[in-house]
C-alpha cells in the first residue's frame, strides 16, 4: 500500500515537473525579452554603462530570470568582455532555468556583437534579438499547449499502470 502510494507520488511528481518546465519556458522567454527591452531603454535613453544597466534590469525583473542578468552584470564588473560575460552567465544558469539551448542563442549572438558595437548599433541588435525571442516564445507556447497536460496525465497514468502490474 505504502509502496503504491510512493510509486504513484514519484511518477506524478516527474510528470508534473516536466509539465512545469513546459509551462515555465514561454514565461521565462517573455521575461528575457522584457529584460532586453528594459536594457534597450537603459542603454539608449538613460545612456547608462552596460554593467549598471544590466543590474538595473535585474532589479526590475522577477526571479529566476533576473539572476541571469545579475550574473551578467557581475561578470562584466569582473572585467570580462561582454561576449564572455554573457556566455558564462548562460552556462551557469542553463540548468536552473526552463529555457532550452536555442532560447539563449539570440542572447549569445548579442554578446558576440555587443563588445564591438556602437550605441545605436547595439539598439538595433537588441531589436533583432527581441524579434527572434518573440518567435521562440510562440514556438514555446505551442509546445506548452501540446505537452503540458499530456505530461501531467502521463505521469499519473504510468504510476497507476505500475501499481496495477505490481499488485
Amino acid at each position: 500500500m505504502i509502496g503504491s502510494i510512493l510509486t504513484l507520488t514519484a511518477t506524478s511528481g516527474i510528470g508534473f515537473s516536466v509539465a512545469r518546465s513546459y509551462r515555465d519556458r514561454p514565461k521565462q522567454i517573455a521575461l528575457l525579452a522584457q529584460g532586453l527591452r528594459l536594457l534597450r531603454q537603459e542603454v539608449e535613453f538613460a545612456q547608462v554603462p552596460l554593467p549598471l544597466a544590466l543590474s538595473h534590469v535585474a532589479d526590475l525583473l522577477p526571479k529566476p530570470v533576473n539572476l541571469l542578468f545579475r550574473q551578467m552584470a557581475t561578470n562584466l564588473e569582473e572585467q570580462k568582455n561582454a561576449g564572455e560575460a554573457i556566455d558564462e552567465a548562460i552556462v551557469s544558469f542553463e540548468k536552473k532555468l526552463a529555457m532550452q539551448k536555442e532560447d539563449y542563442e539570440p542572447l549569445r549572438t548579442l554578446g558576440a556583437v555587443v563588445a564591438t558595437a556602437h550605441r545605436t548599433h547595439l539598439a538595433r541588435e537588441l531589436d533583432t534579438a527581441l524579434i527572434r525571442l518573440q518567435s521562440l516564445e510562440e514556438i514555446a507556447e505551442t509546445d506548452r499547449r501540446k505537452n503540458e497536460k499530456v505530461w501531467q496525465y502521463l505521469g499519473v497514468l504510468v504510476g497507476v499502470m505500475i501499481v496495477i502490474m505490481m499488485s
Binding site: 497536460k149 499530456v150 497514468l157 497507476v160 499502470m161 496495477i164 502490474m165 499488485s167
Partner: protein, 68 residues
C-alpha cells in the same frame, strides 16, 4: 481474491489505462508514442497471461495426450 480473478482485474486495469494514454497521446498529435504505448500494454498483459497460458497448455496435453 483468487489469482485468476486478480489477473482478470489486472488485465482490465492495464487495458483501461492504455486506452486512456492512447487517447491522450493521439489528442496531442503523438501517434507514434500512442502506438508504442499500445505495444507496451500488450506486452504487459502477455507477461500477466503467459503463466496461465502455460498452465492451460499443460492441462490440454495432460487431458488429451495423457503424457503426465
Amino acid at each position: 481474491m483468487s489469482p485468476e480473478m486478480r489477473a482478470v482485474f489486472q488485465i482490465f486495469g492495464v487495458g483501461f489505462v492504455v486506452a486512456l494514454m492512447n487517447t491522450i497521446l493521439r489528442h496531442a498529435d503523438k501517434e507514434e508514442f500512442a502506438q508504442w504505448t499500445t505495444l507496451a500494454g500488450v506486452v504487459a498483459v502477455l507477461v500477466v497471461v503467459v503463466g496461465y497460458v502455460d498452465h492451460l497448455y499443460q492441462e490440454i496435453t495432460r487431458v488429451f495426450l495423457n503424457t503426465q
